[in-house]
Symmetry: D2
Subunit: 136 residues, 4 copies
Amino acid sequence: MFIYLRTVRFQDTDAAGVVYFANGLTLCHEAYEASLAESGIPLRSFFSGAIVAVPIVHASIDFLQPLYCGDRLLIHLTPKLSTPFSFEIAYQLRLQNQPEQLISRATTRHVCINAAQQSKIALIPELMHWLDQWQV
Amino acid sequence: MFIYLRTVRFQDTDAAGVVYFANGLTLCHEAYEASLAESGIPLRSFFSGAIVAVPIVHASIDFLQPLYCGDRLLIHLTPKLSTPFSFEIAYQLRLQNQPEQLISRATTRHVCINAAQQSKIALIPELMHWLDQWQV
Amino acid sequence: MFIYLRTVRFQDTDAAGVVYFANGLTLCHEAYEASLAESGIPLRSFFSGAIVAVPIVHASIDFLQPLYCGDRLLIHLTPKLSTPFSFEIAYQLRLQNQPEQLISRATTRHVCINAAQQSKIALIPELMHWLDQWQV
Amino acid sequence: MFIYLRTVRFQDTDAAGVVYFANGLTLCHEAYEASLAESGIPLRSFFSGAIVAVPIVHASIDFLQPLYCGDRLLIHLTPKLSTPFSFEIAYQLRLQNQPEQLISRATTRHVCINAAQQSKIALIPELMHWLDQWQV
């Protein structure tokens, strides 16, 4: 299982004094990026989507507790294949100093697409390797 | 039904050339803010959450088509009461020049909280009025 | 002179209850985008920078007063040519209901570049037309 | 001198494929937050500005080279006292694997304010300690 340590920053917060809800998903995406980099996938070309694009087609998040500037988060990430063309990632957010308590959980669904033809394709080998590495 | 017109801006996009997924929810939240303002709710005090806070406890979004810089969006917003303490908003995103085609749909769930006691409370009258105004 | 009306949104704010400083520049960039659209420049292709890129090489901002969620801003934008290859935009931010008082002022400098060769080129005709239209 | 390592993320980029200009300042602010935390300043209360606020009154940034998703940046931060009430931070951004080349430089100016009276006050001891620790 992949775990990403991330400190909540001022930029993530809003005038209610907590993390702006949509930024909760941005924190999760950062964990995804870190897991890809850890598997040796070059982020710049992967995310440009020039040849193969892997857009997010669905995302959801639940907040059980608010998150504050300076909070040190552990983000657990677990990917799994959904179809030959798509995968899903489950995220769990916890405080580093209170790891037993779940603060937030989220999901993203990603589809593999041939950019030129705009058609679904089987997951590229780099992503299959990444899945093998981090799924439980 | 409340409809909010919003042009996709450069800031909303990412290096794949489309709207960054989490920003899709930010577009929806803007429509929510505009509907509150239209109902006469002062945004600064409402969102400070000093006395009554109305945090988002759940959000989800589906992307059926990508969104590009400069796209002129119509965001339809429909709120409904879920429990005496909470409400849900459904959003539909369409292009102004192709309104028959759904581009994205999203949901947010909001809970009304007494900030001092951190306990759920019945929706405040301003929100009940807002609900009456925009629900179908 | 181009004037852009923009309501400060929750997403623009931070846990100090005001607009996050870097978002002040984002508000200005929105005014720039609106002025380009008003001059008939298609935003999607312009900002993709595929053939001609117009990156910002310098930006600065001064805050004279804080900005709050819900504030209705008038952003005045004035472009001027700096060199044959570059232009500068001056921005002034004021509240719609207190237009005599300056809240913030900012500057951005933009350079016109041939994307393939990564070399400076003279401003493209569309930008010269835009300059003519909005400079004082 | 304080050095902060930061990987450029997808969220930082825009449809031109590089870091969105205003996000360059956000990267710098992250380095500032990390330096405060390193000096033992609790970020949540510091940035809430409830008693003492330290708003940014000026910011500027120069881009010498573009920044791409996945770039590993070293951000050098050097604070110095400007007046008894204010300080300035200079930032230099370089790539970890090409540290001799400057990619971007930026400045922020911060003023210390009594939140209740909205009047300038001398820098609080925690900030004087932070200045002593990181200024050259």
